[in-house]
């Protein structure tokens, strides 16, 4: 029975299929001739729009032949269940569409350069989140589902064709509005695939219900019922997906987070997790051996956070209407309580009213004072005014200092603050009039007399390279030096402002720098190499060659003597525990797939490892037991 | 050829019976010869086979035909005699009726006889004329 129906549907749609074949072949042939250049772009446009077009055409032909010859009377009087009929027809027509997809992908292979054209095709900004895969597959599939679903309602194929196209467009517009809404409220870009799935399911269900309930002679009733159910299901889907996104758990994508900011503090590891529209500061508590949520909000920025004393400060979007770019500093206790904004940027009486707060706020080590920067642009003078603020965390004692910079200075960041000496380490980037980067500079600003001294001219930034020691007395950074153009890794003493060259090379290829807890040693990784530097002895030591994960997969243990490192052995990965002098004490096999960078944090006798795609594991070095903590 | 007159008020099965009896009495189909099968007859006449079946059943009950399983229906040997008997009964009834009518007109027996002979003569002539033609 299914075979016969399949053959019948293919036979009825042989024209559109042949058309597709001919067009694809024509494209391929044209592209292999001298007309290649001319046809390449056209091919791209064609292929992008042909698939949805074909999908609509095939879908709208759904029940047309049954209407046309009154054959529905014939079919309905056969011993076959209506829902089975619907489904078999659906699958049969879908198979035609899928074969066209297949031809499309094969054609792509024969058309060099086409991939670029296709991938560069950009949907309007409002529809971001629609990647090429979605576009080629999902949009035509949804178009097919919509047109097939409504083909049960009316006997004119081209009417169905146009109406389903119309519905599809309207839904896209709704999706756009939905996106904007979700972004405003939940800072979530939306999942086009999920949305499409819901649309498809809504239409399929509405169509099935209507089909099974009515015959083909009661058009009005059918249209009414179908519309009722379709709208109902769509609304339900919208509500469900909104709730799901809000909860962040409905769609089990990866619990991915990028430890853009992470700090070890008092034996715990604090890190920033962003997951499906929810931003969290999470902490691994060594005592309880668990992850705890410190802060969970829908509108963090991916900012650094700073810990001092009992407090954590971080930056959040202020969500002001019409001033969406403004952020605010928030403070939260390390146990998660007392979360509130530090200043009022919406209150005209507040000194920071309407100021744009920049990233890189710092807490004093006792957590009582905070320092931050705000930005203002003087249009007339074409100058950038950076105001340095410092205040107590309870809001009192606000002091400020204005610094002026030329208009072509960008990306101001606060790196370090020497409290007693009252000077700042600031970084900014100098660009040309055409926004070409000229230099990345680290300067010392004396807050008393506002004098500035350039400490480093061409800073090289990597993922984990500008690191202040946990003892707040040193800063590790890399820069390209003049006059010799060599790249060097320095350690800057924040008190004496003494620079010590740790390593130099033509190309540093620096990946990450990790301080020991006592602030007296660093490990740093270069491509394929791992090195250690001991401040007290001013001694450099190479650890090993060709290790995996050395980008970030290494760290000191809390005893300031040992460190861990991920090593590949015979195609498998192990965590290696090494002593200060690089002697391997232990090697533990990692039983999980290691793909991509793995982040490591060393604690007392534990190591936290974060794998790609999210999961965070705690490995006990003594018992060699693993536990998934996040 | 057996024919059904659908506009007649005589039931079809009755019509079939009568026509079969006529054929038997005329010798068109003789004792021991088969009748057309129910299916054949129904198809030719375009009537419900049940109707034919009923006619055959009644004919069998009345003794004019018999069924041999798998072979069909056949005319019985004494069917001719039976028909004759039946027809004679009908004839008697008709004569009785005619006599009653005559009595109503106050005719004597000899007058009745005369009328009968005259009518018979006329009728025979008509028949003869028909034969000559």
């Amino acid at each position: 029975m299914f075979l016969k129906i399949l053959l019948k549907e293919w036979r009825e749609n042989i024209l559109i299929f042949s058309l597709a074949v001919i067009l694809m072949l024509a494209l391929v042939v044209l592209n292999l001739t001298d007309l290649k250049e001319l046809t390449l772009n056209f091919s791209g446009m064609f292929l992008i729009f042909f698939l949805p077009f074909a999908a609509l055409l095939i879908g709208s032909s759904g029940f047309y032949s049954e209407f046309k010859d009154n054959a529905w009377v014939y079919l309905f009087s056969r011993p076959i269940k209506k829902e089975v009929l619907w489904v078999l027809k659906f699958i049969s027509l879908l198979s035609i569409l899928l074969v066209i997809f297949l031809m499309f992908f094969i054609a792509r292979q024969f058309l060099p350069g086409l991939n670029e054209v296709l991938d560069n095709f950009a949907f309007p900004q409002e529809f971001r989140g629609i990647l090429s895969f979605s576009m080629y597959f999902v949009i035509p599939l949804v178009a097919f589902v919509i047109s097939f679903s409504i083909s049960i309602l009316y006997d004119r194929q081209f009417v169905i064709f146009f109406i389903s196209g119309l519905i599809g467009t309207v839904l896209m517009v709704i999706y756009q509005q939905y996106l904007l809404f979700m972004e405003r409220v939940y800072y979530y870009p939306g999942s086009f695939k999920i949305f499409s799935l819901f649309i498809a399911l809504s239409f399929i269900l509405a169509s099935l219900i209507t089909f099974v309930k009515y015959d083909f002679s009661q058009m009005g009733k059918k249209i009414l019922t179908f519309s009722k159910f379709a709208v109902l299901f769509l609304v339900v889907s919208l509500v469900l997906s909104t709730i799901g996104i809000a909860k962040g758990e409905l769609f089990t994508g990866s619990k991915d987070f990028y430890p853009f900011s992470s700090l070890k503090y008092e034996g715990d590891v604090y890190t920033y997790a962003y997951q499906r529209g929810i931003s969290r500061i999470i902490k691994y508590d060594s005592e309880s051996d668990r992850m705890e949520k410190i802060s969970e909000k829908s509108s963090h920025t991916r900012s650094r956070f700073s810990i001092g004393g009992e407090n954590i400060i971080y930056l959040r979007e202020a969500r002001l209407p019409k001033k969406y770019w403004l952020n605010n500093i928030w403070i939260v206790n390390i146990d998660g309580s007392g979360e509130k904004p530090l200043v009022e940027i919406d209150n005209p009486d507040s000194p920071v009213y309407n100021h744009e707060i920049l990233d890189g706020n710092l807490l004093s080590s006792d957590g009582k004072e905070v320092i931050f920067l705000t930005y203002l642009f003087d249009k007339d003078a074409r100058k950038k005014i950076i105001t340095v603020w410092w205040m107590n965390v309870n809001g009192s004692g606000i002091k400020k200092k204005k610094l002026e910079f030329p208009g072509n200075y960008w990306g101001f960041q606060l790196l370090a603050w020497s409290e007693p000496e009252n000077h700042l380490i600031l970084m900014y980037e100098v660009k040309s009039q055409t926004f070409k980067p000229i230099a990345k500079r680290v300067v010392l600003v004396n807050l008393e007399n506002e004098s500035q001294r350039t400490l480093f001219e061409n800073v090289i930034e990597g993922i984990y390279t500008l690191r202040t020691s946990p003892t707040y007395d040193h800063l590790a950074l890399a820069s390209r030096g003049e006059p010799d153009g060599k790249e060097r890794l320095f350690i800057l003493n924040l008190k004496t402002l003494e620079k010590k060259t740790v390593f130099e090379a033509d190309l540093l290829k620096l990946w990450a720098v990790k301080w020991s807890q006592d602030g007296r040693k660093i490990l740093f990784s270069r491509t394929n190499e791992l090195w250690a530097y001991f401040l007290d002895e001013n001694r450099l030591q190479k650890v090993s060659q060709r290790n995996y994960g050395h980008e970030v997969g290494f760290d000191w243990l809390a005893d300031n003597k040992r460190f861990v490192l991920i090593v590949p052995v015979d195609g498998e990965y192990h965590l290696s525990v090494l002593s200060e002098d690089s002697k391997e004490e232990k090697r533990i096999k990692i039983p999980y797939p290691v793909e991509g960078p793995v982040f490591a944090w060393g604690l007392n006798n534990n190591v936290l490892l974060k794998f790609r795609m999210g999961p965070l594991f705690r490995l006990d070095l003594e018992t060699e037991k693993w536990k998934k903590v996040y | 050829m057996i024919e059904i007159d659908t506009s007649s008020f005589i039931p079809f099965y009755e019509q079939i019976k009568q026509q079969i009896k006529t054929r038997i009495s005329l010798g068109v189909v003789k004792p021991g010869e088969p009748l057309p099968s129910i299916r054949e007859l129904a198809t030719i006449l375009i009537i419900n086979p049940n109707t034919v079946a009923r006619a055959y059943r009644e004919l069998e009950r009345e003794g004019f035909i018999y069924t041999r399983k798998g072979k069909g229906c056949f005319v019985t040997d004494d069917s001719t005699a039976l028909i004759k008997k039946e027809r004679t009964l009908i004839l008697n009834q008709v004569f009785d009726g005619a006599i009653e009518e005559a009595k109503k007109l106050n005719l004597s027996s000899s007058e009745i006889k005369k009328i009968f002979e005259r009518r018979l003569g006329l009728k025979t002539e008509v028949i003869k004329k028909g034969e000559r033609k």
């Binding site: 029975m1 075979l3 016969k4 019948k8 036979r11 009825e12 032949s65 046309k68 010859d69 009154n70 054959a71 529905w72 009377v73 014939y74 309905f76 009087s77 056969r78 011993p79 076959i80 269940k81 209506k82 099974v212 309930k213 009515y214 015959d215 002679s217 009661q218 | 059904i4 659908t6 506009s7 007649s8 008020f9 039931p11 079809f12 099965y13 129910i38 299916r39 129904a42 198809t43 006449l45 375009i46 009537i47 419900n48 086979p49 049940n50 109707t51």
Partner: protein, 291 residues
């Protein structure tokens, strides 16, 4: 005597129009049931509901004592159905249609189908859109009979066809009937055609059966009665079941159903000059009921 089809209180309306109202019908296995309809809609609607093509508004249908609903499908394996209009895919060839159709019926008899094709001289490669009405009917016959159904529904199959075609069609039906003892529901408005075939007759009017009788009894129970009297017969006819009535002062012609001894006596009791009770043929009966 098994009931093969029982319809109880079936109702269906399209918009404001009530096409069938509390319709009841029982059909016995092996019998031929003729259904005459005053207007076309009721018959086709009824048949479509039996075939599960359209859903009833109310009421129940039982096939072989099992209740069937709009959602059921397996009972259709045992019913053959010839529609009034063409319902086949016009682009298919005869061969393609038969092959397509066969896939639905486990009992499909290919040999029988092929035998019919030859008998009717139909070229299997012909597309259905190129078939004449008569050929389409023959095709319909093949499609239905090759699945060897227990129950056959014919919805006005022969209207618009010439006499020879109709004859051939009916012959095939009779053949099938005598070979397989199929139960048949034959709906038509060509009255005389079904006269010889049917066991029972139903007349559908105003959404219901106004007549439902054994056909052979019909001639006994429907009578035309002619009355003449010296006095006026207006308002004198007080019996039930007077289907039509024509009174012209002292003359009166009525059609009575059902005709009983009681009614006869009642009429005789009137002061009449003459009373004639005449049987009616199917055509006359239908016309009386139809008006």
């Amino acid at each position: 005597m098994k009931e093969i089809l029982a319809i109880k209180n079936l109702s269906k309306s399209f918009g404001k129009k009530m096409v069938l109202e509390n319709f009841n019908l029982i059909m016995e296995k092996g019998k031929v049931y003729g259904l005459l309809g005053i207007n076309g809609e009721g018959k086709t609607t009824l048949i479509r509901m039996i075939m599960g093509v359209i859903p009833p508004d109310d009421g129940e249908i039982f096939f072989k004592n099992k209740k069937i609903s709009f959602r059921d499908d397996s009972y259709k394996k045992e019913i053959g159905f010839i529609a009034e209009e063409s319902i086949f895919y016009s682009w298919m060839s005869i061969k393609e249609l038969l092959s397509f159709n066969a896939s639905f019926y486990p009992k499909w008899n290919t040999r029988k189908a092929n035998a019919y094709l030859e008998k009717f001289s139909l070229d299997p490669k012909t597309r259905i859109r190129h078939l004449s009405r008569g050929m389409k009917l023959k095709l319909g016959l093949i499609v239905t009979l090759a699945s060897e159904p227990e129950f056959l529904i014919l919805d006005d199959p022969t209207s618009g066809l010439d006499v020879p075609t109709r004859h051939d069609f009916l012959k095939e039906i009779i053949k099938e009937l005598s070979e397989a003892g199929t139960t048949i529901l034959f709906s038509t408005h060509i009255v005389h055609e079904i006269e010889g075939i049917i066991d029972n007759l139903g007349i559908l009017k105003f959404g219901n059966l106004i007549l439902d009788e054994d056909f052979h009894e019909l001639k006994n129970s429907v009578k035309r009665v002619l009355l003449t009297s010296d006095e006026s017969l207006e308002d004198k006819i007080t019996i039930d079941g007077v289907i039509t009535q024509k009174i012209n002062g002292t003359q009166c012609e009525i059609v009575v159903y059902p005709w009983t001894e009681e009614k006869k006596k009642k009429i005789e009791a009137l002061n009449l000059n003459n009373m004639e009770v005449k049987p009616m043929n199917l055509e006359e009966i239908f016309i009386s009921f139809a008006s």
